[in-house]
């Protein structure tokens, strides 16, 4: 199991984050996803030393009491980087750290993790800490003496851990411990709380191929999502919100990682697939093949899944992933709205196909039956569905409720980059000026006395909207 090298070895020892011990020894856990549970047990847990999905995920992310930091991932774990200036062995092994007056060490520090040198990746409990002198007495003696210049992190993982505590208090009752959107209150809510494990968040300022940025998540936390049960957490302190955003990103990446691993196994080793394979093979052979696959290929797959994750989430924060209108908003005139309405009904955008000709969210697509891409069967109910498998009602644009925000740039983002995970596609090839016309029209819809009747809709446009039902 311990064959990874370099940076990943950091994750293996992990940054052990001891959870604050409560008065009972209740242990929470990250529940495996439904897709993981659909695999045969050997693929979930592993076979003869070759780890399956669950141990692989736990190895990198830990459990809620002992979170692990996979340093490869672009998550702010918290803590302060420093370096060793001297080490005194003995009953009370003492480490002197370099003290930089411009960026002082944290006042409290529970753990010290080495990030380079012979002890890289090892984590130690601090029993006594003096932030001004930069001295730490470790609870246990390191196997080898750290050398001066070795870099380390004190109070490692503090941000993530405080995020976890806040998350469990304010978020988990809807979004679930693992961010699976299935907390105890979830069953009473419509729409359903977000399941982070796809790594997908709906309302972002990024282009359609990118993930949400930290600012996007922060915006949702601060202002809530009107029209849903997601309330505003505006009154929380900035550092609390910051910790929450990081923890939510951590959970999203954890879920996405699990998904990626399951994707590799689902086609051959799901209970269903194995059942049909048993007609021509023996179960022993299937398990043996699985064991070989897990032993030989899985480590590489897991490694590249981590790389991919790091890459996507890092790129999403970059400036080039931001939606940037090339022209400012077109002035909101009746002509602009009319042009917006023409585009709304027109063949290229065909908004009316889902949102309806009067914007009431009742277009022809809402009565068509869709196929579930995961099971390849028709959904039980008519209408559009999102990647979470929930019914995805096109927004009624007459209500004046804009879940992703009511600023023109928000509506622009929704049209240009679509709504991730939902059936709202990205219209990235539409000229930006045209999008602004549609924005003006959409923002004006709630004030129309007779929505849809404004001006005269071109007959051809109405016909094309109706055609959409046969798509």
């Amino acid at each position: 199991m311990f064959r990874a090298s370099g940076l990943t070895s950091l994750s293996i020892a992990g940054l052990l984050l001891a959870a604050a011990s409560g008065c009972s020894d209740f242990q929470s856990s990250f529940a495996p996803s439904k897709r993981t549970l659909a695999l045969i047990p050997e693929a979930q847990t592993g076979q003869q030393g070759a780890p399956g999905v669950t141990p692989l995920v736990d190895e990198k992310f830990g459990d809620p009491q002992h979170l692990k930091a996979w340093m490869k991932l672009p998550v702010e774990w918290g803590g302060k980087a420093s370096s060793v200036s001297a080490f005194e062995a003995g009953d009370q092994p003492l480490i002197r750290l370099t003290v930089d007056e411009e960026s002082p060490l944290p006042e409290k520090a529970g753990r010290l993790v080495f990030t380079s040198g012979t002890l890289a990746g090892k984590s130690f409990e601090i029993t006594s800490w003096d932030s001004s002198a930069g001295t730490a007495i470790l609870a246990s003696a390191p196997e080898t003496a750290p050398e001066a210049g070795d870099s380390c992190t004190v109070d490692a993982g503090s941000l993530l851990q405080s995020g976890r505590v806040l998350y469990m208090r304010h978020c988990s009752h809807c979004h679930g411990t693992a961010g699976d959107g299935n907390g105890p209150t979830a069953q009473y809510l419509y729409p359903k709380p977000r399941d982070y494990r796809h790594g997908v968040f709906k309302f972002t300022s990024t282009i359609d191929s990118s993930r949400a940025t930290r600012d996007d998540l922060l915006r949702v936390l601060k202002y809530g999502i009107p029209g849903t049960y997601m309330p505003s957490f505006l009154l929380m302190k900035d550092e609390e919100l910051h910790a929450l955003v990081e923890y939510v990103r951590f959970l999203a990446m954890r879920g996405e990682y699990e998904r990626k691993l399951v994707n590799e196994l689902a086609s051959d080793y799901s209970s269903k697939a194995v059942e049909s394979r048993l007609q021509s093979e023996s179960r022993g052979d299937v398990v043996k093949e699985l064991q070989e696959f897990l032993g030989e290929e899985m480590a590489g797959i897991a490694e590249s899944a981590g790389d991919e994750l790091a890459e996507t989430w890092t790129v999403s924060e970059a400036e080039e992933s931001r939606v940037a209108p090339s022209v400012p908003r077109v002035e909101d005139t009746p002509e602009s709205r009319q042009r917006g309405r023409d585009l709304y009904l027109g063949k290229a955008l065909n908004c009316a196909n889902c949102h309806g000709i009067d914007g009431a969210g009742n277009g022809p697509q809402t009565i068509a039956f869709e196929k579930n891409p995961e099971t390849d069967e028709l959904y039980g109910e008519a209408g559009l569905h999102d990647v979470w498998g929930n019914l995805n009602q096109p927004r009624n644009l007459q209500t004046g409720i804009f879940r992703g925000g009511r600023r023109p740039i928000d509506v622009f983002n929704r049209i240009y980059a679509g709504i991730k995970g939902s059936s709202m596609p990205a219209f990235k090839n539409t000229p930006h000026e045209d999008i602004w016309h549609v924005v003006n029209y959409v923002l004006s819809l709630q004030f129309e006395s007779e929505p849809g009747a404004a001006g005269t809709a071109p007959a051809e446009a109405v016909a094309s909207a109706a055609d959409g039902s046969q798509n």
Binding site: H170, H173, T185, Y188, Y223, G224, P226, Y229, P231, S232, L234, L235, V323, A324, P325, V327, P328, R329, G400, R406, R407, P408, I409, F412, N413, W436, L443, S444, Q446, F447
Partner: protein
């Protein structure tokens, strides 16, 4: 020992008397001094009732102690006597409390009218609501009119929106329109002594004159569902100029098109 009980029951009214006398000065009844004009009147009513209750409590306790004392000091030869009630006494202790209750209800009428009846609101507050506060499970959604326009009951183009933070002018009578999108909530600002239920389907005007600029906690005071405890917001009282500046900042933010922003930051 017999006298002990008489002294015991005389002792407590003395404690009560002392408590009632020192409590107001030490702010033991209320979380803070009232910080709105109405708050003073409401606190005044509380203190009036406090005095009435204190006098009644002390009076009845002394009467009880007196009865016990008399019993305790009676000679052993005295016989007990039976009473079938006193018509006179019944009339007295019915009419006296009735007068007290009528007195209280008449005294508070003016204040109640000032809190609840819009025609009794100060003219300045009545002119136009400063904001619409829409309660919903589980947050407060705020709507302002665009600077220079008046707030209507129906949203207008250009209206400004925010959540969980209301900016209102201090030191001037201010009215807000209270509504709810779903169930019953209550608009409760303890330091201003303002508490008003939000009822589905109604637009309820609420006014206050905040005496000091600053931040005030707004809570929901009607159990509205599982997230009731989350329904916390803040009211920020500042000068009218600051409110105007805030609103134009909000307007600018709300018309954000992602382009102007970049130019200004470059």
């Amino acid at each position: 020992m017999k006298k002990f009980w008489a002294i015991f029951f005389w002792f407590w009214p003395l404690v009560a008397l002392w408590l009632c006398a020192v409590a107001p000065a030490n702010n033991w009844w209320f979380p803070s001094p009232p910080l709105s004009t109405l708050g003073h009147q409401i606190d005044g009513l509380f203190y009036l009732i406090l005095i009435i209750v204190a006098v009644t409590f002390i009076g009845t306790q002394f009467a009880l102690g007196y009865a016990l004392w008399k019993g305790a000091t009676k000679g052993s030869g005295d016989k007990a006597w039976f009473s079938h009630g006193s018509h006179k006494l019944e009339i007295i202790w019915t009419i006296v409390p009735a007068f007290i209750l009528v007195f209280i209800s008449l005294t508070q009428l003016d204040v109640l009218a000032e809190i609840r009846v819009i025609s009794h609101f100060p003219k300045e507050a009545r002119k136009a609501p400063a904001a619409e506060v829409m309660a919903r499970q589980f947050e407060w959604r705020i709507r302002y009119a665009r600077p220079g326009t008046e707030l209507m009951n129906e949203p207008r183009p250009g209206d400004l929106y925010y959540v969980n933070e209301v900016h209102v002018p201090a030191v001037q009578p201010t009215m807000i329109n209270l509504r709810t999108q779903d169930v019953q909530h209550a608009f409760f600002v303890p330091r201003l002594r303002v508490k008003q239920d939000a009822v589905p389907g109604l637009i309820i005007p609420v006014w206050f004159e905040i005496e000091q600029a600053g931040e005030y906690e707004l809570l929901c005071a009607e159990l509205c569902g599982w997230g009731h405890y989350k329904m916390k917001a803040r009211i920020i009282a500042e000068t009218p100029e600051q409110v105007q500046a805030y609103l134009s900042r909000l307007e600018q933010e709300q018309n954000e098109d992602g382009v102007a922003d970049e130019q200004s930051s470059q």
